[in-house]
């Protein structure tokens, strides 16, 4: 059984998003922390490794589409216990929207070949759409199982999972191959081990570019259907303060109540 874990490198959880007047977006960490493996994806990596430890997966391949720098997040995943890593990186892919990203990831998963389960995090802490797993499933034509909180059984070409939904839990069985996205209730991610770090720092990570992948439907800025032409910081809220003065507290309260009625607050 082959497993691919899709991950993204994101700013640290303490990084602050700023947009300048020119519409340039910055994610700087006040403490200078480097970018990290998307925190939600730690659960995906952990679950991938557990598929190997508990369900006999032979390969747990960690995959990301991103810049050269995303190698760091791949190495973290290798140090945790993934068996191989692939970086998809090409200038032609930059500016992809989630659809473009999904096309790229689907093409890469097809190129890996023989994959039974593609594991994703629930969402990325920067883009935050949560769309990618569904879109990848659609491009691959595989069953999507989102918000998975437990993998119950894998075998005989089937997988049974528990999904954590707003109003309860649901146990579903699907035929492999599937795309799953996991929630944090599914496990406690392990720390990368010192032995793993040593292996990871010596690992050769292949980079696949546009020439290596047959991306159906196009990717990159040109193919993006999402318009990012006007980015601006949310304007601060404007408001005013009015002090109510009266001789007695009761009188102050009556005026306040009247005003709240007037403004339809109560």
């Amino acid at each position: 059984m082959k497993v691919v874990v899709c991950i993204k490198q994101t700013p640290s959880t303490t990084a602050v998003l700023t947009v300048d007047t020119g519409g340039n977006v910055k994610w700087d960490d006040p403490g200078g922390k480097p970018n990290v493996l998307n925190p939600w994806d730690e659960y995906a990596v952990e679950e991938g490794i557990r598929l190997k430890e508990n369900h006999g997966a032979t390969d747990v391949i960690v995959l990301t589409a991103g810049s050269e720098e995303s190698q760091e997040a791949l190495k973290t995943s290798l140090a945790m216990g993934c068996t191989a890593a692939i970086l998809v990186s090409d200038a032609a892919f930059s500016g992809s929207d989630t659809t473009g990203t999904a096309r790229i990831l689907a093409a890469a998963i097809n190129k890996v070949g023989g994959v039974d389960i593609a594991v994703f995090g629930k969402q990325a802490i920067d883009g935050d759409t949560g769309l990618t797993p569904m879109q990848v499933a659609r491009k691959l034509g595989w069953t999507p199982l989102t918000y998975v909180s437990a993998i119950k059984e894998v075998g005989g070409g089937k997988i049974t999972v528990e999904r954590l939904l707003d109003d309860g839990k649901e146990t579903v069985t699907a035929n492999l191959p599937v795309v799953i996205s996991v929630v944090k209730e599914i496990n406690e991610p392990r720390y990368p081990s010192l032995m793993g770090i040593r292996k990871a720092s010596r690992a050769e990570i292949p980079t696949w570019g546009a020439g290596d992948l047959a991306v159906a439907g196009g990717a990159g800025a040109a193919a993006s259907k999402v318009d990012w032409s006007n980015i601006y910081a949310i304007p601060p809220r404007v408001g005013s303060v009015e002090m109510i003065t009266a001789d007695t507290v009761e009188e102050q309260a009556r005026i306040l109540a009247d005003k709240l009625f007037e403004e339809k607050v109560i």
Partner: protein, 382 residues
């Protein structure tokens, strides 16, 4: 000459730092106040590699280089002195001599469970009521051969980890005639009949690291539990302490670093006479000295570790690093309290614990005086 850590060493530091920031530092005060050993965190250290830092991979260890091992202990010290001491003793004092002097059978039996966290920890037992700095003249615990066994009798003091260990490496007198070839190391499983571990000592600091007096009353272990060469116990101990001293130096740097960071933070927040206290020159100087001395101490510790890693002699350098780093740490922790004023004396603030914790570092694994004696012997051909 290259003062940069390798990429691998930087990554080790990063991972251990994150682990410690999450699993040890937030609990350090509780660990100190309750005296409860932080098993939850220590159990997680096994898979990470922190329980077998310098143990070869074939025995389940992480097999990191000597500098990375020092960095790991430094980071543990930054988070929690008590836990750091336990883990430093486990790695350096218990596993170190087994890796170095153990037979293949001894390594196969003991290293995998101890290095991976499947079992409990290990400890080294040298000190006795009448033997601390002077082991050669002072050790009274004896081991006598009887048939296929050693029979051990005596009393040990100050055994870090005794109550949380599966195995003790015990220094015993095997030749009643005395002299530098009269001591040996014997591996003693803690569940062997005849061993009594006294309740944990009440200490000034490091309260989450249990220290015990232990008595041996006709404790019988197989002859094959001899570790290394009979009669070479003193020499094996001194070599083990060389390595342990790098660890204690690193631990002291970590404690000092934590105190320094707390003082820097407080100097920004606290205001007197209409400005943050970091604007007062007296405060600036304390912090500038701390930054400088900590950096020097850290470099000395890494230097000793580097020599150790190269397999070169490093007895003098380990003594220098331990002496300097532990005394710097004490000064830095002391001044961090000073920067905090009255609040620094309160148990509400981390610096109070750090000062108590670091106080041990100039005593354990050879006092500052003994370090000076070791250094003097080297530089004066004594």
């Amino acid at each position: 000459m290259d003062f940069q850590l390798t990429e691998e060493q930087r990554e080790f530091r990063h991972v251990v730092h994150e682990f410690v920031a999450k699993e040890l530092k937030p609990l350090a005060r509780h660990t100190d106040e309750s005296g409860e050993f932080n098993w939850t965190a220590v159990k997680k250290m096994g898979p990470l590699g922190l329980l077998g830092l310098e143990v070869p991979e074939e025995y389940g260890g992480a097999a990191v280089d000597a500098i990375s091992a020092a960095i790991a202990i430094e980071e543990l010290g930054w988070g929690c002195g008590s836990t750091a001491l336990a883990i430093s003793a486990h790695n350096g004092l218990a596993l170190g001599p087994i890796v170095k002097y153990g037979t293949e059978a001894q390594k196969q039996e003991w290293l995998p469970p101890l290095a991976t966290g499947k079992g409990k920890l290990g400890c080294l037992s040298l000190t006795e009521p009448g033997a601390g700095s002077d082991l050669q003249g002072g050790v009274r615990t004896t081991a006598v051969k009887e048939g296929d066994s050693w029979i051990i009798d005596g009393q040990k003091m100050w055994m870090t980890n005794a109550s949380i260990s599966d195995l003790m490496v015990v220094l015993v007198r095997t030749d009643p005639g005395g002299g530098s070839r009269s001591l040996s190391h014997i591996l003693v499983p803690t569940n062997t009949p005849g061993i009594t571990v006294a309740p944990a000592e009440k200490k000034m600091g490091l309260k989450g690291s249990p220290t015990h007096a232990v008595t041996f009353d006709e404790v019988r272990v197989p002859l094959s539990n001899l570790l290394g060469t009979e009669g070479r116990g003193l020499q094996q101990t001194l070599a083990t302490l060389d390595s342990g001293r790098v660890g204690i130096g690193a631990l002291a740097v970590g404690l000092g670093q934590a105190a320094y960071e707390a003082a820097i933070k407080y100097a920004h927040e606290r205001e007197t006479f209409g400005q943050p206290i970091k604007r007062h020159q007296a405060v600036q100087w304390m912090l500038a000295d701390a930054a400088t001395e900590l950096q020097a101490a850290r470099l000395m510790v890494y230097w000793a570790a580097w020599l150790k890693g190269l397999g070169k002699p490093y007895t003098k350098e380990a003594a220098m690093a331990k002496l300097f780093a532990t005394e710097v740490s004490e000064r830095v922790c002391r001044n961090a309290i000073q920067v905090h004023g009255g609040y620094g004396y309160s148990a509400e603030f981390e610096v109070e614990r750090l000062y108590r914790d670091t106080r041990l570092m100039t005593i354990g694994e050879g006092t500052s005086e003994i370090q000076r004696l070791v250094i003097a012997r080297h530089i004066l051909d004594l």
